[in-house]
């Protein structure tokens, strides 16, 4: 039960931070998402994002910052195995599902739907 509570609180909290970035700092949605994704990679590098995922579950994996963390983890995991070239070969390993799904479902949507204006 507590994992649901933390998922809600942490996820909501990260979104609240995003809202403040947009409303108070007048950042565009693209700038906000970009800043969060970079933050995810940096926090991941500092070893701080994985513990967040441990106790907040989907509250940490659903926001876009998780994407940055996953990109880093993929790079590091592959680098462990193959040396420095692994940074290039491994980056998209963990995030492949997210990017593929977005491209595929986005494209399918363009086949089926028209913009409503």
């Amino acid at each position: 039960m507590t994992e649901y509570l933390w998922a809600f609180l942490v996820g909501g909290g990260i979104c609240a931070i995003g809202q403040i970035m947009m409303d108070v700092f007048h950042m565009t949605p693209a700038h906000t998402m970009t800043a969060l994704v970079v933050a995810g990679a940096v926090l991941g590098g500092l070893g701080l994002y994985d513990p967040l995922v441990e106790f907040a579950g989907a509250g940490a994996t659903t926001p876009i910052c998780s994407f940055g963390n996953s990109l880093l983890k993929g790079a590091m995991a592959e680098a462990e195995r193959d040396g420095i070239i692994g940074v290039l070969t491994g980056i998209f390993e963990v995030t492949s599902a997210g990017i593929s799904a977005a491209i595929i479902f986005g494209f399918i949507a363009s086949l089926i739907f028209h913009p409503k204006g």
Partner: protein, 335 residues
């Protein structure tokens, strides 16, 4: 003739022989709906892109105004038109099918009055017998070009405005019955360093006030000369700012004299935040509602100051601020 530096007083004030206003589905709910000639119930107008739909809007309003004036396309000497699309393609493609010699112009949302001013000067100088001036805008095409894809979930701030899907047109002639264009003041570009494309009202208000002030000074008249002064699309945000600027500049406007087409077209509607905008905003309100009021004798002398924000999506990304312009045209019922 030239008055002052940037105003024209027309010695042979051209007549507005006919005017027309067309709207989209959302505009059919406007408080001014009765003053539109027709509405389309679908923003696609049976085309396969928003841009092509905008061409159709312009073609439709031009055909309508020709019909109302009792004229054919071949009677018209010049078509003066502009819009918000890149390279004003809506106007160019409409000109292609109307087959009228074409002067394209870009004034962003000030195009309606820019066109009316230049058309009037041409007629005043004997440079034409009949001129058709028109403009159009399309909500989805404008969002796609200037802001975000229409289905994107970016949260719009309270200062944003709603681009009118519609078109307005007028046919001017040397003689006949109807309201006459008596003078015009061409604005110069005013940039107060505003950078937010979701806050056009704040960007454009100084240009509107500058042009109106210049007009009053150069024509040597007081605001009370007019029954109504309307800006194009400052919206509620820009209107409030313009009022403050008028006060600061010592221009006294009596209660009820000054209004804005962006506020009139949709009234207070949460969906449109600060009000209407787009080339068609000032065009449909002026060529429909306001001229109808003049024809009914409710107004005798009006000053329309259409306002435009002259930025591009690229200029905004290059951290440029938003330069704005406003053009004022006076229309009077002369017996």
């Amino acid at each position: 003739m030239l008055v002052g530096r940037q105003s024209w007083r027309f010695d042979n004030p051209p007549v507005i022989l006919a005017s027309a206003a067309i709207g989209g589905p959302f505009e059919s709910k406007s408080p001014l709906a009765d003053d539109f000639d027709a509405f389309h119930d679908d923003i696609w107008l049976k085309q396969n892109s928003f841009e092509k739909a905008e061409v159709k809007l312009l073609e439709h309003v031009c055909q309508k105004v020709l019909e109302k004036a009792g004229l054919q396309g071949q009677d018209i000497n010049f078509l003066i038109s502009g819009d918000l699309d890149n390279q004003i393609t809506s106007s160019s493609f409409a000109a292609r099918s109307l087959a009228i010699p074409y002067i394209g112009m870009f004034g962003a949302c000030s195009t309606s009055m820019e066109g009316l001013a230049v058309a009037s000067k041409l007629l005043d100088n004997g440079g034409a017998n009949y001129i058709l001036t028109a403009t159009a805008s399309h909500n989805a095409a404008t969002e796609k070009q200037f802001r975000y894809p229409t289905e994107y979930g970016a949260q719009k701030p309270p200062t944003s405005q709603w681009t009118v899907t519609g078109a307005g047109a007028a046919i001017l002639g040397k003689e006949g019955n109807g309201p006459r264009v008596t003078s015009a003041t061409i604005g110069h570009v005013v940039d107060m360093g505003v950078k937010d494309p979701f806050n056009m009202g704040e960007a454009m208000a100084p240009a509107a006030v500058d042009t109106i002030e210049t007009h009053l000074k150069e024509m040597n008249i007081e605001p009370d000369y007019y029954d109504l002064i309307a800006t194009g699309d400052l919206g509620f945000t820009g209107y409030a700012l313009a009022n403050e600027l008028f006060q600061k500049h010592g221009i006294q406007l009596r209660e009820g004299l000054y209004t804005d087409c962006g506020m009139l077209i949709y009234g207070k509607n949460a969906k449109v935040f600060s009000g209407g905008s787009g080339c068609a905003c000032s065009a449909t309100v002026t060529y429909g509602h306001l001229l109808n009021r003049m024809r009914r004798g409710e107004l005798k002398k009006i000053l329309i100051t259409a306002t435009g924000a002259l930025m591009s999506p690229l200029s905004y990304q290059q951290k440029e601020s938003i330069p704005c312009i406003a053009h004022a045209v006076s229309i009077e019922s002369i017996q």
